[in-house]
Subunit: 371 residues, 2 copies
Amino acid sequence: MHRLRNALDRLLGYATTLVAAMVIAACASSGGNTSVAPASSPQAMPAAAAVLPSWREGRSRDMIIRFVNDVTREGSPSYVPAAERIAVFDNDGTLWSEQPLYFQFVFMLDEVKAAAPKHPEWRNNPAFRALAAHDQAALAGQHKELMKLIAVANSGMTVDEYDSAIRAWLASAKHPRFGRPYTELVYQPQLELLAYLRANGFKTYIVSGGTIEFMRVFAQRVYGIPPEQVIGSSQIVKYEMRDGKPALVREPKIDFVDDGPGKPVGIYRNIGRRPLLAFGNSDGDLQMLQYTAAQPGPHLALIVHHDDAAREFAYDRQSKVGKLDKAWDEALAKGWIVVSMKDDWNVIYPPARDSSVFSGACGCIAKGEQQ
Amino acid sequence: MHRLRNALDRLLGYATTLVAAMVIAACASSGGNTSVAPASSPQAMPAAAAVLPSWREGRSRDMIIRFVNDVTREGSPSYVPAAERIAVFDNDGTLWSEQPLYFQFVFMLDEVKAAAPKHPEWRNNPAFRALAAHDQAALAGQHKELMKLIAVANSGMTVDEYDSAIRAWLASAKHPRFGRPYTELVYQPQLELLAYLRANGFKTYIVSGGTIEFMRVFAQRVYGIPPEQVIGSSQIVKYEMRDGKPALVREPKIDFVDDGPGKPVGIYRNIGRRPLLAFGNSDGDLQMLQYTAAQPGPHLALIVHHDDAAREFAYDRQSKVGKLDKAWDEALAKGWIVVSMKDDWNVIYPPARDSSVFSGACGCIAKGEQQ
């Protein structure tokens, strides 16, 4: 069990010291605070002719457009055939928000609560009692015990059953500050960038520390990124017969941690080509950015800097979630693009929707042909 | 070292008792026997209008065409949107030959010989001496020691360096019986099937027990399958700085064995959708075929039966390489398509080429847009 805990710490664990934040998030997802109105002005989708309308004029936008023009113009010394145009994006903090806690972690905690009726023995478990009571002080001493509960509650089922649980959660859970479904807290400028890249022959990938199954259920509808282009951390799944039918069952054991030095490895393992463009926001993206930026051919490395407390959140070197420190220094030293949410983006989130993407029939937010 | 040996046994290890065969192959790749002429008649590429011209009229061909028509015809009850049309193919024995020994294994043995000058200590190693002398009797007792040499010779370098070694080998090595480069010993009917599926909106994947890097170097040119659609076994690779540059370095440790029950897991991990069509040839493909065939929606499960000793090889239930036993029984019980190489294919290999695919500029054998 000790090894299991360690493994879970690694998986969740670009967040190992977040017990306090967990309580906040757990309370919030239980309806503790949904009063804050959307901070951004709704904005119409870009007209066909407009390029990156939610990006303000400036160096960031200019460099992106120049780069795309260079690699797509036949005869250009930087020309790259379409088949080799790979763009990789971190997810948490790069494509959607990640504060006050990784959204997936909120889900996994909610799964503990949802599993409680099947586990009467938890009634006397101090970690579960602290979680259920939103008792931050008590929970602070129960980190390891809580990780065990998370492992139990998020394993043992088939991958199809787990997918259904994720979908159900995304259809109802709301963000504590913005009161919107988590799938709406994606960045409108990034949706436009993904679509713009795809329109220019790029294949767009997510390369995230989060787990593949959590992102895959919404990546197609929200980002226009199909499941096979979602690279992430994973638990071991095991093939077995259940009720006479083949099933893939989730084991409480880590398979792969797609974070930090794991990201270039995940890219190699799943794509086998070096990306032309990499976009991240934290130190967990440093190696992916280095790997992309070190190639002799054309490339673009970008970082989102969360400097907009009014419209989203402001955090960097000192943050427990999405810490940006070493990667920021390297970006400055090497001339990578540091995108200021405050200055470079004229809108943060897409317009509010009438219903969750999981309530409607399709509800694709992102336009642009899937690639 | 014991664990390493076991891991290697697993990786190579849909072939753990093949020392005798190794010697044959090792001798052969050293030029021991290249006198046998190609057994198949060259055949022109299909005309644009013809569908699967190297497939003879019959149940196998009919069922494939009917299936593709059904899932692609809008309004059909079996219609499947293009984004969900996934087809998976085993490689060894399904897309190219695998006798007398998996071609990748021949390469890995040749790497041991190539690495010898850097390892003077091997001069007195009994396994190396037996390999170098093609001494089958001596080698038979050195299985574990040989696995150690293979691990050393195929690890420690960057993935780019290893790719170069694979390319160089594929450019020069020839098959012992047919005297042709290994990349020409692909099945012409399957090249046509891959192209036909892609022309009908399918995304074609390889799902193989072989390792990703070995297949990726030729899958695009030979099969029209890009690197990101090659799923296979893998060694651990580690991100590190070499000469101040980011590098991915091969560790002598298994990451994932994509064989048997590992195949549905690999499909889940890399694609995240259940394939509509799965094509294999051995018991190592059984679970992939079960997983594909168990879905309620439209699907097609196929097996190549190697029953053509004259033009290729004849083997099934008793073979050490590519054993087809349980999967055959299940195919017969469940009505999966068992393709007879002898009866269903009017040609086995594509026409001989003037030079290896690795000598020419492009030399794509497979036509059809990549997808």
